[in-house]
Amino acid sequence: MAKGLGYLSIALGAAELLAPRAMCRAAGLNGMEPLVRSYGAREIATGVAILTSHNRAPWIWGRVAGDMADIATVATGIRQNGEKTTNAILTLAALAAVTAVDVMCASGLESEKGNRKTAVADYSDRSGFPGGLQAARGAARHLKIPADMKTPEILKTPEMSSSAQAAS
């Protein structure tokens, strides 16, 4: 479904970008061609992102945000332009339907991946140190760091030099 919404975004975006006047007429919006053209650019960018990203959920949520902007714009048009009300109401209905589909799709993608704010596993017992964390702290300090990876003495602060001597 996400891929389909990506293609829909690009197609709609291209129409808004290339034929803003026709789109405005169909939606009952007069004098909003520059705004509709900018929405077209937004749709194309979102569509490309949906098709190219392996994590599509944020971009589908981006579509939902765009739907809200579209609905607000058409609603504003209804107030300003009485004689085209029918077209605008039909557009609003279509936008509401598309928004519902976008929300369903985004929610579905999120639930596929689980709620990432909740741990899906607990690894708090996996220190990797069989002798315990305290014993591990500094346990390999004696291993030699190659000269090409050492901080030149001249760049070390006196504090660094003295603590390194104390540790060795």
């Binding site: 992102a49 392996h54 991946k113 690894y123 996996r126 990797g128 390999a140 602060t157 660094m160």
Partner: protein
């Protein structure tokens, strides 16, 4: 034999392919007993790395048993030896190998011309990676041909299970080098971006090397819990400002040592610069997403060190080099010089100072590899590290 074969973006299949054969006197063939999926395999899976061809066999974290040895490798290996195979192929004879700079071996990349063109000068050949690094068949397979096998191996004792040794091939020495090249002092705060497998190994390495304070940054609760278990203070970048928190934990001065264990596919979805990177990447105007690099360069204490074990592939945009220059930061990076470290690290494992198997969350048969790539990439099911058994 069966092997995991790359066919395109997010298209890896378990297929039957011809068994490898000795092609050079210095080759050996090993029967793979364990292999793993690496975070850098995901850059190939997602096709962010150029130079892949359909039919390439994946995998560069491999161990097994020697089953055939070329005549020139017999002084170093014999049939039946148990070996871990480092992901970097090394000749052991060139000027760079003699200096211990194994990941830039001058002779092991059989596509040297490609490497020269893309990187200016060639790097070492790598198993199961792009054709820029030789296009050698990888070890997510039943058998692996090891070129320059007399040098490209780590002999391991029979008494220790695969799970504790396998990561000597890559992520353990990579995490170790990430920490070691910071030259950690007992007074240092070390900040590590990314709590994936390399990040987890880097955290343990920094603890073993005696850092005063280790701070780990990620967003996935289970990975943060693993980081905390290893001794790190954690920052969830989706819940708090990384910059503010790092400054708070260092008395406003910033960490002395900053380590990027994330690389080119940073997932900081909430920041403006990462949205910019996403958009540019979608339009093919930028290859990598360097959010972590920008953050490290900004927050690092003056005269500090930036260590970059995370993999980058190409061209990066909006890098605050002004901060690097004016603060006098040192940058150390590179693919891992695996064999430079493995004697010491094997000793740490044998002496039970560390058990690298802590990071394994999934062990599956090889044929489930394609599915596990997706699980690992999408971080489903608490996946941190996948080991495959051919």
């Amino acid at each position: 034999m069966r092997a995991l074969v790359w066919h395109g973006t997010a298209d890896i299949r378990c297929e039957r392919v011809p068994d490898p054969e000795i092609e050079d006197d210095r080759d050996a063939i090993i029967k793979v007993t364990s292999c793993a999926i690496c975070g850098s395999d995901l850059h190939l899976f997602d096709h962010f790395m150029p130079g892949m061809k359909s039919g390439d066999i994946m995998g560069h974290e491999t161990m097994g048993e020697v089953v055939e040895v070329g005549s020139a490798a017999k002084s170093a290996l014999k049939v039946g030896d148990r070996v871990v195979i480092p992901f970097t192929i090394i000749c052991g004879e060139c000027e760079q190998c003699k200096r211990g700079n194994f990941s830039v071996c001058e002779r092991s990349n059989r596509n040297k011309n490609l490497g020269d063109k893309v990187f200016g000068h060639t790097t070492a050949g790598l198993f199961g990676y792009t054709h820029l690094t030789g296009g050698y068949a990888g070890g997510q397979a039943e058998y692996l041909r090891v070129p320059f096998a007399d040098k490209t191996h780590i002999k391991v004792p029979d008494s220790i299970p695969d799970e504790k040794l396998l990561f000597l091939s890559d992520i353990f020495p990579t995490g170790w080098q990430g920490a070691a090249q910071c030259d950690i002092q007992p007074t240092d705060t070390v900040a590590i971006w990314g709590c994936g497998p390399v990040g987890q190994m880097t955290i343990r390495s920094a603890i073993l090397l005696g850092a005063k304070q280790v701070i780990a940054i990620d967003r996935l609760p289970e990975r943060l819990s693993m980081a905390e278990a290893g001794g790190a203070i954690t920052i969830n970048f989706e819940e708090e400002s990384v910059i503010d928190r790092l400054n708070e934990l260092t008395g406003g001065k910033g960490p002395e040592k900053c380590i990027d264990a994330v690389g080119l596919e940073a997932h900081a979805t909430g920041s403006i610069d990462s949205m910019y990177d996403r958009a540019k990447q979608a339009m093919m105007l930028e290859t990598d997403r360097p959010h972590v690099l920008r953050e490290m360069m900004y927050v690092c204490r003056p005269a500090g060190v930036l260590s970059i074990p995370g993999v980058y592939g190409g061209l990066l945009d909006k890098i605050p080099l002004g901060a690097v220059m004016n603060k006098g930061l040192t940058i150390r990076t590179g693919q891992t010089h695996v064999n430079r470290w493995t004697d010491d690290l094997l000793t740490l494992v044998v002496e039970n100072q560390i058990d690298p198997s802590f990071v394994i969350t999934h062990t599956e048969p090889l044929e489930r590899g394609p599915e596990m790539y997706k699980t690992f990439r999408d971080k489903q099911d608490g996946c941190v590290k996948v080991v495959l058994k051919p």
